[in-house]
């Protein structure tokens, strides 16, 4: 068992190690990388994708996946744009966006729990339905939103920019729910084995449905923050966010097989890591065409480590005959 312990412990700390390596690396290569202003900037830029990643983490914990988050963002933003340009009050726009997130999430949840279709197909289908709908809404044209949205990005809470505060706030709340509520602990059980959880009396269906709704709402929240940064809705709004979110979660130690992972430090670190990469590459004036290459390579590595960890665990949990006289405890 000792062999497992040390190897596993190292693997578990990978997100932190990776993060420090990247920060250190860019810090060495570029003078301004490690300045407070830049680091806060990274946090703010990471916030939209980060919030989406938090929701995605919950879904991944149940051994599912939500590929529709980017599309949900787009639909929410498109509707928001239309409403804002039609003069609707700000609070109503916000509420509607959240509602859209919830509804889409609910549809995902329904199909996943009631029909036995794989989550990745359900959410993939919804991705295209959503994107198509949003493209129709915007007629493939960009919409510039009223300034009130941009102010979101500029407001500060206790000296911290609102987007970053919101991101961290949601992260803390989610981590609390995951670690300190029955619902959260049951998510881990369902992720390990849905059928076993059901046998143990857990309402697996309800949990799955809720988790997808949460993911949808997080996508809407991410859209709000993204609007705060861009101030406009373009046809590419929300594109690739599902990928960013999955990457952040996996980089942060969440297993694609379900049952393992955390929002803090995990996913938050993962999101910051991805953003640091982009930020660092920009500072170094690297070829922008290289971004997707580097990002996808890093994500591939993260998933690879996850698989390695799983393989190691499986091997060491093989039925073991105790050949030495064992102790009754410990």
């Amino acid at each position: 068992m000792k062999r497992v312990g040390s190897a596993e412990r190292v693997l578990r700390q990978t997100p932190v190690i990776l993060f420090l390596v990247v920060l250190g690396g860019f810090g060495l290569l570029s003078g301004s990388f490690l300045s407070v202003e830049n680091l806060v900037n990274i946090g703010v830029q990471a916030a939209p994708a980060g919030i989406v990643a938090v929701g995605m983490t919950l879904v991944l914990l149940t051994a599912g996946v939500d590929l529709s988050v980017g599309a949900i963002m787009f639909v929410a933003a498109a509707v928001a744009g239309k409403m804002a340009l039609a003069g609707q009050p700000f609070w109503l726009v916000m509420l509607t966006m959240l509602g859209i997130g919830g509804v889409f999430g609910g549809v995902n949840g329904f199909f996943v729990t009631r029909t036995g279709v794989a989550p990745f197909i359900v959410t993939l289908a919804l991705l295209f339905v959503g994107r198509g709908f949003a493209l129709w809404l915007t007629q493939t044209r960009a919409m510039n939103l009223p300034d009130v949205f941009l102010q979101l990005g500029a407001t500060r809470v206790l000296g911290v920019p609102l987007p970053l505060a919101g991101f961290l706030g949601i992260a803390v709340l989610s981590q609390f729910v995951l670690m300190r509520t029955q619902f959260g602990r049951q998510i881990y059980a369902v992720g390990h084995n849905r059928e076993a959880a059901r046998k143990a009396g857990v309402e697996s269906g309800r949990i799955l449905a809720i988790v997808y709704v949460v993911s949808g709402v997080c996508a809407a929240l991410g859209a709000i923050l993204a609007l705060g940064q861009l101030g406009a809705v373009t046809p590419k709004f929300g594109e690739n966010y599902e990928f960013k979110a999955i990457s952040a979660a996996v980089l942060g130690g969440t297993s694609l097989f379900g049952g393992r992972g955390a929002v803090l430090p995990g996913t938050v670190l993962g999101a910051l890591l991805i953003q640091s990469l982009e930020n660092g590459l920009v500072l170094l004036n690297a070829d922008p065409y290289l971004y997707p290459l580097i990002t996808s390579a890093i994500i591939f590595t993260a998933v690879l480590l996850d698989s390695v960890r799983n393989a190691l665990l499986a091997r060491l949990q093989r039925r073991k005959i105790r050949l030495e006289p064992e102790l009754g405890s410990s």
């Binding site: 509520t181 029955q182 602990r185 046998k199 143990a200 009396g201 073991k320 105790r322 050949l323 405890s329």
Partner: protein, 505 residues
């Protein structure tokens, strides 16, 4: 405080797809007593307990738990009624802690939402103390041994105030010491007035632990009464329905041939140690032992499915490297695995496709390796006949539509088509009805008579005694005993499988 729990089954029946699995089962468990439930595989024990535990609904009959009508619609309901089922395959979540596993659906909470960590810790520690498990409630379950996990399951039962606990083959993965701890715990539970049902193949344990015994055969109760009315031999003959002589085909006393499989000093740390034996042509060599003794692991290592660190395996005098199953098959080995659902059959594939899987290459023609349909069909038809597969099934039918016995025949047929020099069988008659069992035995003996060596792993000592020329006994990864046909003795074999355990007659 001693809650009285009595259990009554009255004419409980259950059928699956037209096959009657339970036929009017009736028995009584007096309050605070321990009942031993024995029967062959497929006799209906698991089905009975699943009905009691709420995982299945009975088709007919009633149950009374402590006088009250008991008809749970789900495991959760049965649990609320005070029934706890400690399954053979433990139902714990390794990614959660002991405390979280125990209180997964009933966490103590503050303010209705937040988990009350301190109370959780206290309650868990209390119940762990009752079962004698000295571990912190925060320990992740993945760090526990099987025995410890079992104690957690029992702790879970106690935490939910179970008044009836069902143990399904609890000692199969336990070490001797853990078994003793379990028995001591059961004595304590008994003193508290908790009723228990103990299901096990280790009849000696049943005799030791239980106040009353119920014997099931083919879905019906054939005997019940206090322990004093039973002996192990009587239980066996009741379980089986006839004396041992007529269960197994007559074995010709064949002369032992040359060695075909030689294993020397085979070791893989934590799995097997110093395995040394020789299998001869025409010989049926049995491997006895409790689950967890390393028999299946040994078989997997021999077949190339798992690695080994030290030692040597020789087939017909030539060493077998550390190859994969593909390699072994080419050299003439065959392996009928323990779990045909997981590794023996492609359940959705047809009978024909399953049967031909190992030997496909032989029915193809180069250059593109196209199937010669004619040869393929003929080979399958011949083998179907040879294993006496039910004529009711067409070649194209998926194997999941077959009964357990017929499924096993398909697997056996698959390997027989390869004309193996050595056939390893791991629990070949598990989940197979008595009639099909006999036919499988005949096929196995036929194969041995034709000159192949057969390695037979089985948990049923009677089966080994009936079929084998020699029996090896494995215990905690090592070979602890060897018996030739003349020396076959059930008690002594059992004793070798459980060192330090007295076998009560």
């Amino acid at each position: 405080m001693n809650a009285v729990a009595a259990l009554e089954f009255a004419e409980v029946s259950k059928s699956f797809s037209g096959v009657r699995v339970l036929r009017g089962v009736s028995f009584t468990l007096p309050a605070g007593r321990t009942l031993g439930l024995v029967g062959e595989n497929g006799a209906g024990k698991s089905t009975m307990m699943n009905i009691l535990g709420g995982a299945l609904r009975a088709d007919a009959g009633t149950m009374r738990l402590n006088g009250a009508w008991h008809a749970p619609a789900s495991p959760a309901e049965a649990e609320r009624a005070g029934v706890a089922f400690i399954h053979q395959e433990l139902n714990l979540f390794p990614n959660l802690s002991i405390a979280e596993n125990i209180f997964l659906t009933s966490f103590p909470r503050r303010g209705g939402v937040m988990i009350d960590g301190r109370t959780l810790h206290e309650r868990t520690a209390a119940v762990l103390a009752e079962v004698g498990l000295e571990m912190s409630p925060q320990t992740p379950v993945e760090r526990l041994s099987t025995g410890q996990c079992q104690l957690v399951e029992i702790a879970k039962a106690l935490a939910h105030e179970a008044r009836l606990i069902i143990f399904d083959e609890p000692t199969t993965s336990l070490s001797a010491r853990e078994t003793e701890m379990l028995f001591a715990l059961m004595a304590r539970l008994r003193a508290r007035g908790i009723a228990m049902i103990y299901i096990s193949h280790v009849l000696g344990d049943v005799m030791r632990l239980c106040d009353d015994i119920v014997v099931l055969r083919d879905g019906a109760v054939v005997a019940q009464g206090p322990r004093a009315e039973f002996t192990i031999e009587k239980m066996i003959s009741l379980m089986v329905g006839r004396t041992l002589d007529h269960l197994y085909p007559v074995r010709k006393d064949a002369a032992r041939g040359a060695p075909v499989l030689e294993v020397r000093r085979l070791s893989e740390p934590g799995i097997v140690r110093g395995i040394d034996f020789t299998l001869h042509r025409g010989e049926v060599l049995g491997i006895a032992g409790l689950m967890g003794a390393g028999r299946s692991e040994l078989a997997r290592i021999l077949f190339g499915l798992d690695r080994f660190e030290e030692g040597e395996i020789k087939l017909d005098g030539r060493p077998l490297g550390r190859g994969a199953p593909r390699d072994r098959i080419r050299r003439g080995l065959a392996f009928l695995t323990e779990d045909r659902r997981a590794e023996g059959l492609c359940f959705e594939a047809s009978i024909a496709d399953n049967m031909a899987l190992v030997t496909l290459v032989e029915h193809t023609r180069t250059p593109l390796r196209l199937l010669d349909l004619g040869r393929w069909r003929a080979a399958i038809a011949t083998m179907r006949q040879a294993v006496r597969l039910t004529a009711n099934a067409r070649d194209e039918q998926p194997v999941r539509t077959l009964s357990g016995g017929n499924q096993q025949k398909v697997v056996l047929g698959k390997w027989l088509l390869a004309k193996p020099r050595v056939l390893i069988l791991d629990e070949p008659t598990r989940g197979v009805d008595v009639g099909a069992k006999f036919e499988l035995y005949q096929l196995i003996l036929q194969l041995a008579d034709s000159g192949s060596g057969v390695l037979l792993i089985s948990s049923e000592i009677e089966e080994l005694i009936g079929l084998c020329d020699r029996i090896l006994v494995m215990n905690r990864g090592e070979i602890r005993g060897e018996f030739s046909r003349a020396e076959f003795d059930r008690e002594r074999i059992l004793q070798a499988a459980l060192p330090g355990e007295e076998v009560r007659a």
